[in-house]
């Protein structure tokens, strides 16, 4: 068993992507303390304020949308007089009443706030009610008399393919090698197909916004959004004013998961438009059922595959077809489907591969970003292929996976294979130079006791007919960076006050992931002060402009760096003034433990700040960061879209009742790569939480639409996210403790999305248990509801 020997120095000096550590990082101690979330005390006392908790000025009005009750067609007539005449209603707005742009799309300007006459999905907002209370608005919104000319809706990917209803002019195709050669020369081939379900975000805090009209046409919007800048842009366009007239603030969200990257636009714009019209503050929050029905979810898809492989399970070629159901508007579907293609290889060096991706337009809610952003779907495709291949050959799937891995990173070999190390190339032409899954897998299979448990599972299955067990391993290799390269930038504003207290602001938003805490720790480490001296403040478009969404796991990487840069600037200014006033070289001034020290100098940080102030030194600074070395051509499907990869792997074991398909997750072990963790407690939190969310996606979370295009699972009564007892009975999480070879903030790695895909090992363990019921491949579909598992057992038995 290979035991890793972390060696940061060598990793840095030998790795081709290595850059010199900047001065700030070199001078400051690593911030890696397991400190609680920055607002933990406010969370547990109920004092943490979300948009709907914010005290509102007297006269605040409340909004609700009237929704379409058909999936496709045109509005023949719409009588909103009964709405207007309902108790407490102040105004009813339709598309004709909007002052400027009627668009809330984050991409293609194809998403009207209120219907322009066409109906594209069941639940589309048609009109806007402005009332004295939330309840009055909701009640009135149901009173309109609407006649439609109905069309036959396009609901499924097959219907969309047949109608050639799609985004872009045809499928995107990424390929490497020759798929026909690869398949024709393979000793074995298999074909199959897997449906992968969508997923409702079920952020506990529903979508919400509050608009406060100001003067001269300006407006301040509080929004529960991952993307304040986009809210600013959409509001400005809707009001017909320059961006500088709109300020958007986000202190926190009650969960985002991608569901608040673009889906908050409609509420914020509605509030701003209604506030402009009435001159009064306007607030809107979706009732949970409306939230389910109106907003987009994770893309569901079907993945068809043909794979060629040899007797050992080494894959020579895979041909994937991705059929993504994007819904009615483009939203973020193109980059989502792109990212699925970019993760169709996952951890495997595939000599010949072709990925054909159809982005299909349907009369359903517009699918949107969700943790992993298509990556999980792509990864399920290749993990399914590995599982199928192993089953066909009767091999241990973990071994088949290891045989197909990318070659290990150069620095991990100990240099013994001098110059002969092969570098894997992804299907999109990016060399994989940081691969550590070989060693991570060795360690996890050892610590989870995989081999003997696999044998014990086989023994159990021989001895038991009703309850079968399954165990499975799966790896994760997840690319870090926005694939739209220009988004990989961040700004920060750091202010030191004369008492030494520090206020930090950056473009990242806090949705529970602990970004504010991590960034505050970076600031504290850079300035050499105690964490309590640092206060994170609400994300605010008037403090840092032109920010990117807090998405793509990039929050800490980008904003941590920007804040580090700003803090370094301020620290250097203080060092200069301390040096010049105290008669020591500025370069000798050190910042540690809340003190500013040099030969013969020992000031508190507050004294140093006061000294800088009285000497007329600026104590506010901006910081800016852009990710280096990335370049990507999404049409050609070639380049380096990612700065680096984050890795992880997991082993899960389940017990399945063959009589009903019910199952229980017995144990999950995870080893996950966070580089040099900025905060191990928060990182473990992301891993545990991401894994369970991924398990939910592939198990109990089933979205059901009827043949009219109506979502039938639109509340937690019918849509089942994991509950307390659904977490694995035994749940072991460990961090892989090696620094990121590339120069990220303190050599940490992004952690928001990658752990989500540990849910895949649970799905595969269920498949393994089903396979124990008979000779055939169970062809398990996702989500693996108890019902689906019951059917898969039937297929296995034949």
């Amino acid at each position: 068993m290979t035991q890793p020997t972390p060696n940061p120095t060598r990793a840095r000096s030998e790795h081709p992507d290595t850059q010199p550590v900047n001065t700030a990082a070199a001078q400051s101690a690593p911030p890696a303390k397991p400190l609680p979330h920055d607002a933990a005390r406010e969370h547990v006392t109920g004092a943490a304020r979300y948009v709907d908790d914010t005290p509102t000025p007297a006269g605040t009005l409340h909004l609700a949308f009237g929704l379409a009750t058909i999936a496709a067609g045109k509005i023949a007539s719409m009588d909103v007089d009964p709405v207007r005449n309902a108790p407490g209603v102040r105004a009813v707005l339709t598309a004709q009443d909007l002052p400027a742009a009627n668009d809330v799309s984050p991409s293609a300007h194809d998403e009207p706030l209120l219907s322009d006459g066409a109906v594209h999905y069941h639940g589309q907002p048609l009109f806007l009610v402005v009332a004295d209370s939330h309840l009055a608005a909701r009640k009135a919104a149901r009173l309109a008399n609407i006649d439609y000319h109905e069309h036959t809706p396009i609901l499924t990917v097959d219907q969309a393919l047949a109608a050639d209803s799609r985004f872009e002019d045809g499928p995107r195709i990424y390929q490497k090698g020759s798929i026909s050669d690869g398949l024709s020369q393979a000793p074995h081939t298999l074909s199959g197909s897997i449906n992968v379900g969508g997923q409702e975000h079920f952020y506990l805090e529903g979508q919400a916004a509050l608009a406060l009209p100001g003067e001269a046409g300006d407006v301040t919007v509080l929004s529960s959004t991952q993307h304040p800048t986009e809210i600013q842009h959409k509001v400005a366009e809707a009001l017909g004013v320059p961006f500088h007239m709109v300020t958007v603030q986000t202190r926190r969200m009650g969960g985002g998961f991608g569901g608040k990257e673009s889906q908050g636009n409609a509420l914020a714009v509605a509030c701003a438009v209604a506030a402009a019209r009435t001159g009064r503050p306007c607030k809107m929050r979706y009732d949970r059922d409306d939230d389910f029905i109106i907003t987009g979810k994770r893309h569901d898809c079907r993945i068809d595959y043909t794979v060629g492989f040899d007797d050992q399970g080494c894959v020579s070629a895979v041909d994937f077809t991705h059929l993504f159901r994007c819904g009615w508007a483009q939203d973020l579907s193109l980059p989502v489907a792109d990212r699925a293609m970019l993760h169709a290889d996952n951890a495997y060096d595939l000599p010949h591969v072709r990925i054909t991706s159809h982005r299909l337009k349907t009369n359903t809610a517009s699918a949107t970003a969700f943790r992993g952003f298509g990556g999980p779907q792509g990864m399920v495709g290749i993990e399914r292929v590995m599982d199928h291949v192993a089953h066909h050959l009767g091999l241990d799937p973990a071994k088949v996976r290891q045989r197909n891995y990318y070659p290990p990173a150069a620095h991990a070999s100990g240099g013994s294979i001098s110059g002969k190390m092969k570098t894997g190339i992804t299907p999109y032409g990016m060399p994989v130079t940081d691969f550590v899954l070989d060693r991570m897998t060795d360690r996890l299979l050892h610590t989870s006791d995989y081999e003997s448990r696999r044998a014990a599972v086989a023994d159990w299955n021989d001895a038991n007919t009703v309850i079968k067990k399954g165990i499975a391993f799966s790896p994760v290799k997840f690319g870090i960076s926005f694939t739209l390269t220009h988004l990989n930038q961040a700004g920060a504003l750091v202010q030191i006050y004369a008492d030494g207290s520090v206020l930090i602001n950056h473009g990242g938003t806090e949705m529970g992931q602990g970004l504010f805490q991590k960034v505050a720790q970076v600031a504290a480490a850079t300035l050499g002060v105690d964490q309590r001296m640092i206060r994170p403040s609400a994300t605010d478009t008037s403090k840092v402009p032109n920010t990117s969404a807090t998405a793509a796991s990039s929050g800490s990487d980008l904003n941590g760096m920007a804040v580090q840069v700003a803090c370094a600037t301020l620290r250097d200014r203080i060092a200069q003034i301390v040096g010049s006033t105290q008669g020591v070289p500025a370069s000798s001034v050190r910042f540690a433990d809340g003190r500013v020290l040099a030969d013969g100098v020992d000031l508190t940080f507050a004294e140093a700040a006061a000294l800088a102030y009285t000497n007329r030194v600026s104590l506010s600074a901006t910081g800016f960061y852009k990710t280096p070395d990335i370049a990507w051509d999404r049409i050609a499907g070639h380049g380096r879209p990612f700065y680096y990869f984050a890795y992880g792997c997991s082993v899960s074991e389940v017990a399945v009742d063959t009589l009903t398909g019910e199952y229980n997750i017995l144990r999950t072990d995870i080893l996950h790569d966070c580089g040099n963790s900025l905060n191990p407690a928060l990182d473990v939190g992301q891993i545990e939480g991401g894994c369970v969310q991924g398990i939910g996606w592939l198990t109990t979370e089933e979205l059901v639409w009827d043949d009219q295009g109506r979502l039938r699972t639109h509340a937690p009564s019918t849509y089942k996210i994991p509950a307390m007892s659904d977490r694995p009975d035994v749940f072991e999480v460990a961090l892989w403790d090696e620094p990121n070879p590339v120069n990220t903030v303190h050599r940490s790695k992004a952690v928001g999305e990658p752990p989500f895909m540990h849910g895949i090992s649970t799905f595969l363990a269920v498949s393994h248990a089903c396979a124990a019921c008979g000779p055939n491949y169970p062809d398990l579909q996702a989500p693996a509801t108890f019902e689906e598992v019951f059917h898969a057992i039937g297929r296995a038995r034949g």
Partner: protein, 457 residues
């Protein structure tokens, strides 16, 4: 009517106009206590959990979103803002949640810590059961479980005890809150179209989701004689207002299988509010208790004015949405026999906890010398009403509980039921799972381990 209750230790009087204002809206919109969150507005997520204390009963966690103000008259409510000591010291559960990183986005956290503090008050140690009704989307629950276990043995802070301070309240006026069964019977005779609100876990959604006006309403919360549970030696007599939580406590030793079912009935918050009578009287085809009670041979007493009639429970359910209940008549008591040693019940849903049954199968045979001499088998989710599987029962009587009788009985189930497909399950799966439940029952009676949740890694 004026409603008086203790709110975080302070006597509070509020005016209810319609009777259907919810506690959650009052807290957030009128009292300025925004710590309690609205997550779903239907009692399924627990973000609005509060602790309610009343005379003579243990404090209980309830969902404020479907709790109407008149239900609080004379009681005490403790919200997340009332958990920490007035001197600012965090409640042990709050501190543990900070120390164990139990919050991420923080939105579910107030509901969690409130439910945890209630469990702490009552000494309930099983986190999975206590917290099944609190959904968290961020943490994966692991740190919350660690926090719960770390604090469960801490001393109870004195300020958490509301019993000694419950307000003395007078009766009520315009919104009807009867205090005994006779009063209710007389009033309901005069108001046969009224909505009777017991726990409100179903009726609550008529208000919060369907936006219905329910007037006239009567709140049965204060009808103490309908909450009685009497042990009559060979059977229990449950008042219709007995909560599912109360029932669970009573039946646990006699019917462990029923207890397992009831532990999966809604969540702790729902069980604390929901009543046995409500679960029967609303006539749902997927209510969890009726199939079990039918298989156990339960009977009910209906009351109209002073006239009572008794019937077997299965006869109460006539057709989908239709029960054998006259206007002005209400369910008064449920008689449940003891000693049915071969009784078992199995619930199948998409998620184990806090979910509605796709199929609920209840089995109860009498065996003599290895031969079935009597069988009562009932299902929920297989028809428009909770219904006995009479053909299936017939095929079993006089036979051993083995093949070929089992296979024959399973086939006969297709004569008993024609289930529907909906978002919870397909018709075919419902039928096959129901048939296989009979197989499971046979394994179960033979002592085989049949519960997938009891399997060790």
């Amino acid at each position: 009517m004026n409603i008086t209750f203790l709110l975080n230790g302070t006597r509070t009087t509020v005016r209810s106009e319609t009777g259907t204002e919810t506690l959650l809206d009052y807290l957030r919109e009128d009292a300025g206590l925004c710590g309690t969150k609205e997550g779903c507005n239907e009692g399924d997520c627990g973000a609005c959990s509060v602790i309610v204390t009343e005379h003579g009963r243990a404090p209980k966690a309830l969902n404020a979103c479907i709790l109407f103000l008149p239900q609080l008259h004379g009681k005490a409510v403790r919200t997340v803002e009332g958990l920490a000591d007035p001197d600012g010291t965090l409640h042990p559960m709050q501190q543990a949640m900070v120390d164990h990183h139990g919050s991420q986005c923080g939105f579910c956290t107030p509901g969690f810590v409130t439910t945890m503090a209630c469990a702490h008050l009552n000494g309930d140690r099983d986190a999975d059961t206590v917290l099944a009704g609190n959904l968290c989307r961020c943490t994966g629950y692991a740190p919350i479980k660690r926090a719960f276990d770390a604090a469960i043995d801490a001393e109870i802070p004195a300020h958490m005890k509301d019993h000694p301070h419950l307000p003395k309240v007078a009766g009520t006026d315009d919104i009807f809150c009867p205090t005994d069964g006779d009063q209710l019977a007389a009033w309901y005779l005069d108001h046969p179209d009224a909505t009777l609100i017991a726990g409100g876990t179903d009726v609550g959604l008529w208000v919060t989701k369907q936006l219905r006006d329910l007037a006239p309403v009567a709140f049965l919360d204060h009808v103490e004689d309908l909450k009685d549970i009497e042990d009559r030696g060979l059977h229990w007599r449950f008042g219709a207002m007995a909560s599912i939580s109360d029932m669970l406590r009573v039946v646990r030793d006699e019917y462990p299988s029923l207890a397992t079912l009831l532990e999966r009935y809604g969540s702790a918050q729902v069980r604390n509010a929901a009543t046995l009578g409500g679960n029967i009287a609303n006539g749902s085809p997927i209510g969890d208790s009726p199939p079990a009670l039918i298989a156990l041979g339960a009977s009910i007493v209906l009351r109209k004015g002073d006239v009572r009639r008794k019937m077997m429970l299965e006869d109460f359910f006539v057709d989908y949405g239709k029960q054998d209940r006259a206007p002005g008549e209400f369910l008064e008591t449920i008689k449940l026999p003891m000693g049915q040693t071969a009784f078992r019940v199995y619930k199948l849903s998409k998620r184990f906890d806090q979910d509605i049954s796709a199929v609920c199968g209840a089995f109860n045979v009498v065996m003599e010398d290895g031969i079935v001499t009597d069988a009562r088998i009932a299902f929920g989710g297989m028809a428009g009403i909770p219904k006995r599987a009479t053909q299936t029962e017939k095929r079993l009587v006089g036979k051993p509980l083995t093949d070929p009788a089992l296979t024959d009985a399973m086939a006969a189930m297709e004569q008993d039921f024609t289930p529907l497909s909906d978002m919870r399950a397909g018709a075919d799966y419902r039928m096959k799972a129901a048939q296989n439940m009979l197989l499971r029952y046979a394994h179960d009676l033979n002592g085989a381990k049949i519960d997938v949740r009891q399997v060790a890694p």
